[in-house]
C-alpha cells in the first residue's frame, strides 16, 4: 500500500511533542475525568494556569488537563512531572503554594504517598496513558506511540496476520462473558466479501462500574485505533460506538477525538492515504441495561426497542441491518493497539493459563482507596482489596465482595485468597462481568443486598421472555417478605427453584445471570436468610387462622 502519512510523520509528531516537553522543567497534570471534575478540578486547573501566567513561568512549566489517575476518592488530583509527586484534594487556593514550591520541597499537607501498593502493585496496559496525556489532544496520543500500531498493521500485515496476532495474545472479551476475541474476529472475517460493521459496546450498564467511561474520557483515541485495526482485520468499513447518554463528558471527548482522527487521516476515507477506509459514528443509548447484550444493542442502533433475540444466528453472521457484525467492548478494543505494537506473544505472558493480560477494575464501596485499578489476571482478591484498596475503612470487617455487576455474585470473606480470572470466579458462583468490584462490610445485610439486585433486574428486564419478566418479580417479592420476617423455610425452597428455572430458561444473558446474587448469597450466607425466617409451625397456625 502507498501512504501519505507514514511512520516518519508519526515519529516527527512524537519528537516535536517530546522536545516541547523537554523544554519545560515541570509539568503540572490536573485530572479532568468525571470523578475529579465533580470534585471541582476545573477550577483547580484554571487557578494553576492563572498562577503560572501571572508569574511568567509559561516557558518552564506546562499545566494541562489529563485523564483519570486512578485514586478517584482523593480528587481533585494533581500530579507534578517529572518528579512524580501526587497531590490529593487540591483546592484552587492551593495553586499559589504548589507553584511556589515547584523547585523546592513538595507541599507536604497535600502529598499522597506513592510508595503504597496502590501505585506499586498495578500493571498498566490499557490505562498506560490514563492520567498522562491530554485526552483532547491527538498529538499527545501520537507522542505516546499512538496510531503506530495502526500504521504497522496497514504497512506490514495482512488481515489474517492481524487476527493471528490477536489469537496468539489469548485476549478474551472484557465485556463479561470472556469469549476469545481472536475467535470472534475470525468468524466475522470468514463471512466473505460483504458490507460488515464493527461496533464498540460502550453501554456500560453495570452500576458500580466505570472502567469504560474512564478509558473513553482519558484516552479516546486508543479505542478508535483498536476499532480501525479490527475493521481492517475483518474487512469492515463502517463502525458505530454505542455509548450511554449518561456519560456526557465521554461523548464530548469521543466526538472531538473522531474529528481529530479524521483530520489526521487515521479514520475516514483512505486512511493514511491507503485504500483502506473506515468511518465511525456515535449512537447514544437511552438508559436500558439490557442494551449491553449484543443483540439488544443492535436492535437499539437500528432505532427500535432494545430487546434481545435468540442466538444463533450470532451477530457475526447476521447482525446490524442483517449484516455480519463484530461487537467488542471498550476495554477489549483498548487492548488491541499494545498487542499489535508488542506482539501477541508478549501479551500472552501476562496473566494466568486461561485468562491472559490485565483487567481493569472499578473498586468501590466500603474500601479506603476507591478508584480505577489495573492488575494482571490472577491477582488475588486479597491483594486487590487489602493491598491496593488499602482495606476496609472505620475499623470494620470485610463481609463480601460483589463482582460482575447486578447479575454477578457475592464472594464471602473466607474466599478472598482466590485468584481473579474468568474460571475461578465462575467456580465460586460469580462472574468476571465488566469489572465492577464492590466491597461490602459487616454493616450491610446480604439479604437486603440480594433484594437490591433483584429490584434492579425487575426494572431492567425487557419483558420479552416470561421466566425473566415474571420470575424476577416473584423473587423480589419473596426477598421482600424474608426481610419483613414473613417468610418460612418453604419460601426459601421456592426461591431456589425459581433461581433454577430463570437461569436455565431465560432468553438472554440478563435473565440467565439474574439469579446469581441470590444463589451466591444463599450459598454463603444462608444463616442470614434463616435468621429472618418465621418458624414453620407458627406460619401454619397463622395460615389456618386465615382460612377460618
Amino acid at each position: 500500500m502507498s501512504f501519505t502519512t507514514n511512520l516518519e510523520d508519526l515519529i516527527h509528531v512524537r519528537e516535536r511533542v517530546q522536545t516541547e516537553l523537554a523544554g519545560r522543567k515541570h509539568r503540572i497534570h490536573v485530572c479532568v475525568a468525571a470523578g475529579c471534575l465533580s470534585s471541582g478540578s476545573a477550577d483547580v486547573l484554571a487557578a494553576l494556569k492563572k498562577t503560572i501566567q501571572e508569574r511568567g513561568l509559561e516557558s518552564t512549566c506546562l499545566v494541562k488537563g489529563v485523564g483519570c489517575m486512578g485514586p478517584c476518592a482523593g480528587g481533585p488530583l494533581v500530579c507534578i512531572e517529572p518528579e512524580g509527586i501526587y497531590y490529593a484534594q487540591v483546592q484552587p487556593s492551593d495553586a499559589e503554594e504548589i507553584v511556589e514550591k515547584l523547585d523546592r520541597e513538595p507541599v507536604a499537607r497535600l502529598q499522597m504517598s506513592t510508595d503504597e501498593p496502590f501505585f506499586t502493585r498495578q500493571k498498566k496496559i490499557v490505562l498506560e496513558n490514563c492520567g498522562r496525556i491530554d485526552p483532547e489532544e491527538i498529538d499527545d496520543y501520537i507522542a505516546a506511540k499512538g496510531y503506530h500500531a495502526l500504521y504497522k498493521t496497514l504497512a506490514t500485515m495482512t488481515p489474517s496476520e492481524v487476527i493471528a496476532e490477536v489469537v496468539k495474545s489469548g485476549l478474551r472479551g472484557r465485556g463479561g462473558a470472556g469469549y476469545p476475541t481472536g475467535l470472534k474476529w475470525t468468524t466475522v472475517a470468514k463471512t466473505g466479501k460483504q458490507q460488515k460493521y464493527v461496533i464498540c459496546n460502550a453501554d456500560e450498564g453495570d452500576p458500580g462500574a466505570f472502567m469504560d467511561r474512564s478509558i473513553l474520557e482519558s484516552d479516546p483515541h486508543r479505542v478508535l485505533e483498536g476499532m480501525a485495526i479490527a475493521a481492517y482485520a475483518v474487512g469492515a468499513d463502517q463502525g458505530y460506538i454505542y455509548i450511554r447518554a449518561e456519560y456526557p463528558l465521554a461523548i464530548e471527548r469521543l466526538r472531538k477525538a473522531i474529528k481529530q482522527a479524521e483530520q489526521g487521516t487515521f479514520l475516514g476515507k483512505n486512511i493514511m492515504g491507503t485504500t483502506f477506509s473506515f468511518h465511525v459514528e456515535l449512537r447514544l443509548g437511552a438508559g436500558a441495561y439490557v442494551c449491553g447484550e449484543e443483540t439488544a444493542l443492535i436492535a437499539s442502533i437500528e432505532g427500535g426497542r432494545g430487546t434481545p433475540r435468540p442466538r444463533p444466528p450470532y451477530p457475526a453472521e447476521s447482525g446490524l441491518f442483517g449484516r455480519s457484525t463484530l461487537i467488542n467492548n471498550v476495554e477489549t478494543l483498548a487492548n488491541i493497539a499494545p498487542i499489535i505494537r508488542y506482539g501477541g506473544e508478549w501479551y500472552s505472558q501476562i496473566g494466568t493459563a486461561q485468562s491472559k493480560g490485565t483487567k481493569v477494575f472499578a473498586l468501590a464501596g466500603k474500601v479506603k482507596n476507591t478508584g480505577l485499578i489495573e492488575v494482571p489476571m490472577g491477582a488475588t482478591l486479597k491483594e486487590i482489596i487489602f493491598d491496593i484498596g488499602g482495606g476496609i475503612p472505620d475499623g470494620k470487617k470485610l463481609k463480601a465482595v460483589q463482582t460482575g455487576g447486578p447479575t454477578g455474585g457475592c464472594i464471602p470473606e473466607d474466599k478472598i485468597d482466590m485468584p481473579v480470572d474468568y474460571e475461578s470466579l465462575a467456580q465460586v458462583g460469580s462472574i468476571m462481568g465488566s469489572g465492577g468490584m464492590i466491597v461490602i462490610d459487616e454493616t450491610s445485610s446480604m439479604v437486603d443486598v440480594a433484594r437490591y439486585f433483584m429490584e434492579f433486574s425487575v426494572s431492567e428486564s425487557c419483558g420479552k421472555c416470561v421466566p425473566c419478566r415474571v420470575g424476577t418479580s416473584q423473587m423480589h417479592d419473596i426477598l421482600s417478605r424474608v426481610l419483613k420476617g414473613e417468610a418460612t423455610e418453604h419460601d426459601l425452597a421456592i426461591l431456589e427453584e425459581l433461581c433454577d428455572v430463570i437461569k436455565n430458561t431465560s432468553l438472554c444473558g440478563l435473565g440467565q445471570s439474574a439469579p446469581n446474587p441470590v444463589l451466591s448469597t444463599l450459598r454463603y450466607f444462608r444463616k442470614e436468610y434463616e435468621s429472618y425466617l418465621r418458624p414453620a409451625e407458627q406460619a401454619a397456625a397463622n395460615n389456618h387462622g386465615g382460612v377460618q
Binding site: A34, P207, R283, A286, A364, I438, F453
Partner: protein, 149 residues
Amino acid sequence: MRKHGFSPHSLIEALHSVQDTFGYIDREALIFVSGSLRLPLSKVYGVATFYHYFTLKPQGKHTCVICTGTACYIKGVPALLDSLQAQYGVTLGETTADGELSVLSARCVGACGLAPVAVIDGHVAGKLTPESLLKRLEEVIHHELHHQS
C-alpha cells in the same frame, strides 16, 4: 432528523434531540416524530417508554438525580431518600407540588469513587450525607428565588 436523512433507524437520535431541546417528550412531539420518520405512533411511543432516559412528563424547575448504583446504595442512598421524603415530601420519580424540585434516579452515573452521588441541575455532587444533600438543594432553590426578587 435532517442530520440522519429522516431514516426510521434514527428514531432514538430524534427522541434525544427532542428531549435535549424541550426537557421532555410530549404527545405532540411523539406525533411529529412519528410523522416525519414515517413510523407508526405505537412504535415511537413504545421506544420512548422502553428507555428510562426519556421522560414524557415535564420536570420541575430543578432536578436532583440520585444515583442508585450499587456503590451508592451500599454507602447510604436509602438515608438520602428518607431525608428528601422528610424535607420535601417526594421520592424517586416525583415532583414537588410547587414544581420546584424533581427527584429522579439514575442507575449509575459512573462516579462510584465518590459514592453516594447525586446530580443536582447537571452538577455532580459526591460523598453526600443527608445534611449536605439538603443543604445543596436549599442553596440551589433559594439561589433561584433570590434572583427573581
